[in-house]
Symmetry: C2
Subunit: 97 residues, 2 copies
DNA sequence: TTTTAATTTAGACATTCGCTTAATTATCTA
DNA sequence: TAGATAATTAAGCGAATGTCTAAATTAAAA
């Protein structure tokens, strides 16, 4: 739990998550998006992985990262705790177009 | 944005938020829930207030704190960014009991 | 008006965090 | 097998964080 909130606390890590919405990317591709050393990005990826917000798949010489539903679901569950308080209005019927 | 993620990163501050689901509480009541000095709790309350996750209302000698929807909505919006990726299944029709 | 109570502000200190460069591990290819 | 490439691990450093005690502020009570 702590690891997940810690992971999304850093702006670089949040950017990495956003970047991965485009689909899986290897560590080098991710690092190239940032004006920061590769070891730093590697460290960020490690924290995101520990938090189960991303998954790592070794593809030969490369390591491919993608979003991991597991961690997001846990955080989402935490948020639901507050929905009772705020009573977010929900549609009775939703029309699908 | 940063302030909100920073605010929910700390376990004590998350506990304070949970505690406030029970309804508004003054600073002393909140502090009494924790084995921690009042100044520390006061500092946590300040960070939560800056993040617009709680609101402070001065009631005479006391200061009453309650949850603030504003901050929660912003964080919730951030989360929605990822819903497209995960395609959380949604009910076509929801029956209200 | 003096005292008491609620809360915050200020200052100090240890720990954690994010970053860098240098070294290491693993894989591919000539 | 040697050399090059992808990525991580290690070591170190300044800045930010969370906590405390003590002092200041504000409002109610006596």
């Amino acid at each position: 739990m702590d690891a997940k909130f810690k992971a999304i606390n850093d702006p670089t890590r949040r950017e990495i998550l956003q970047f991965l919405v485009n689909g899986p990317q290897n560590a080098g591709q991710i690092a190239s998006q940032f004006d920061m050393s590769k070891p730093s990005i590697s460290h960020h990826l490690d924290l995101l992985k520990q938090a189960k917000l991303i998954q790592a798949d070794k593809k030969g010489q490369f390591i491919e990262y993608k979003l991991d539903k597991t961690g997001f679901e846990v955080i989402h569950a935490w948020f639901k705790t507050f929905s009772t308080y705020f009573e977010f209005p929900k549609p009775k019927i939703r029309i699908e177009i």
